[in-house]
């Protein structure tokens, strides 16, 4: 579904991703873990070209998205993204946050988008917040709305960039619950996270990144039970 070939990214002299090749298959739930500064967020942000790769190609469903002539807006309409800091639009109501993109990209009429928003909000238990503004919501509620906002575009894959890292501990659960539901419905997901429990329970594959490389990857139970690389063992001994 997403094919990454020889991907490198540097900021100035600093090489953040070093020649990464990876493939993400439909229906997979890929969980990316690793120490901070390992390049995992940059890797994720390259997948929808929020970061422009310095070298290498990324292909999404047969379209080479690293080609400057590709209409990246069309590609992004099929890839949802959820950010660490939610990035809801504070100048709009929740309903407008959700319906803006489907309507402006002509995916839906305003009426259809409103119905979709209501249905999605009901699903995450926030239908009474439709006319509220983001400033009135808690962090956990904001992040659930952010997920719903991405889902309203009916994406084929969802990218999560540390979705629970900015949340109070007691709100982490409600967001992970929504993500778990989404996984059960068969959504293809790439999740950068520090939630090892989530990685173990929901992931179908775990990637461990360090120093701009994917050092090790495995099916989650084997990954956590028998890490092979010394760096992985060291990392896991600190976080588990």
């Amino acid at each position: 579904m997403i094919d990454v070939k020889n991907l490198s990214k540097s900021f100035g002299d600093h090489l953040v991703l070093d020649n990464i090749s990876e493939h993400i298959y439909p229906g997979e739930k890929v969980v990316v873990i690793g120490p901070s500064g390992s390049g995992k967020s940059t890797f994720l942000r390259c997948l929808n070209l929020l970061e422009i790769p310095s070298k290498g190609t990324i292909t999404f469903e047969g379209t080479n998205i690293t080609n400057p002539r590709t209409d990246i807006d069309k590609v992004r309409q099929q890839m949802g993204m959820v950010f660490q800091h939610f990035n809801l639009f504070p100048n709009m109501t929740i309903r407008k946050n959700i319906t803006l993109a489907p309507v402006r990209t002509k995916l839906m009429s305003q009426a259809e988008a409103d119905d979709t928003a209501t249905a999605l909000l009901k699903r995450v238990g926030l239908e009474e917040k439709a006319d509220a503004y983001p400033a009135q919501l808690s962090g956990g509620q904001k992040q659930r709305i952010a997920i719903v906002r991405a889902l309203a575009m009916k994406p084929k894959v969802m990218l999560f960039d540390e979705p629970t890292s900015a949340l109070d501990p007691e709100m982490v659960g409600e967001v992970l619950e929504v993500m778990k539901q989404l996984a059960e419905e068969g959504m293809t997901m790439v999740v950068v996270t520090h939630e090892m429990g989530f990685a173990r329970e929901v992931g179908s594959r775990v990637l461990f990144m360090d120093g701009g490389h994917i050092l090790e990857q495995n099916e989650p139970h084997a990954f956590f039970a028998n890490p092979r690389e010394p760096r992985t063992i060291e990392f896991l001994s600190k976080v588990l």
């Binding site: 400057p68 309409q77 949802g80 950010f83 809801l88 709009m92 990209t105 991405a150």
Partner: protein, 243 residues
């Protein structure tokens, strides 16, 4: 010493009478004030329009995807860069003299020349105000918009610009105040605004103090009123943040 002071105060009223009441001279000040306000508003309109164009060109040029740079936009951006550098790097007085005696030397309508000079000057500053306002919006906001598949213009129009507006408005108010006071410079090219009349009346009566102090008080009064309005507006805008 005390005697001199008393005599000075004694003569004050007749001096102000000559400067303002005699021969209905107060009408001239009002006429000048009217021209001053017309020039301020017209120059601000030019400045905002020009500033908006320059700011949009410069930000959109900076935010292009590498490998997909538009050469025409690059050229326009270079022109905008030269414009802001030249305007912000030379004195307003010199610019006004150049407009009046070099570029538009055949024009008799000095108020119009003043408007053009002030407006084009103001545009360079407004451009920086708007650019600063656009950059003050968290980068995550436009990333969120773009990640949903919205194009650059829609992201700007619905997400970035409405949020930038709140940061731009107070600075734009300050620009209005600056521009309002700077209109007094065009008296040097003979545009008939408030300072022009004050100086003329002072010259005619061989008594500069009353008309100039009077003009200064008029400027001050308008600035105070405007600052007060601006404060009210800012408080209202902040309120909507807390909703």
């Amino acid at each position: 010493m005390i005697q001199g002071l008393i005599e000075w105060f004694d003569r004050l009223l007749p001096r102000f009478y000559t400067a303002f009441i005699e021969e209905d001279r107060w009408k001239l000040y009002l006429q000048g004030l009217e021209n001053t306000l017309i020039m301020t508003v017209a120059a601000l309109v030019i400045g905002v329009l020009l500033g908006l164009v320059v700011a949009v060109v410069r930000t959109s040029h900076d935010q292009q995807r590498p490998g997909r740079r538009n050469p025409v936009l690059g050229l326009i951006n270079a022109v905008c860069g030269i414009y802001t550098t030249v305007i912000r790097g030379t004195p307003m007085m010199v610019q006004i003299l150049i407009w009046s005696f070099v570029i538009l030397s055949s024009s008799r309508n000095k108020v119009m020349v003043g408007i053009i000079g002030l407006g084009i000057n103001s545009g360079a500053y407004v451009a920086e105000i708007i650019r600063g306002g656009l950059m003050s919006v968290d980068a995550g906001q436009s990333e969120a918009g773009r990640s949903l598949g919205l194009n650059y213009l829609d992201t700007m129009r619905f997400i970035v610009v409405p949020q930038a507006f709140k940061n731009i408005l107070p600075s734009l108010g300050n620009e209005f105040i600056t521009l309002f006071k700077d209109t007094s410079l065009v008296n040097a090219i003979g545009a008939m605004e408030l300072t022009y009349y004050a100086a003329r009346i002072g010259g005619r009566n061989f008594d500069y103090m009353p008309p100039l102090i009077g003009a200064a008080l008029m400027y001050l009064a308008i600035v105070i009123i405007f600052t007060w309005l601006q404060g009210k507006l800012e408080r209202r805008l902040r309120q909507s943040d807390r909703r």
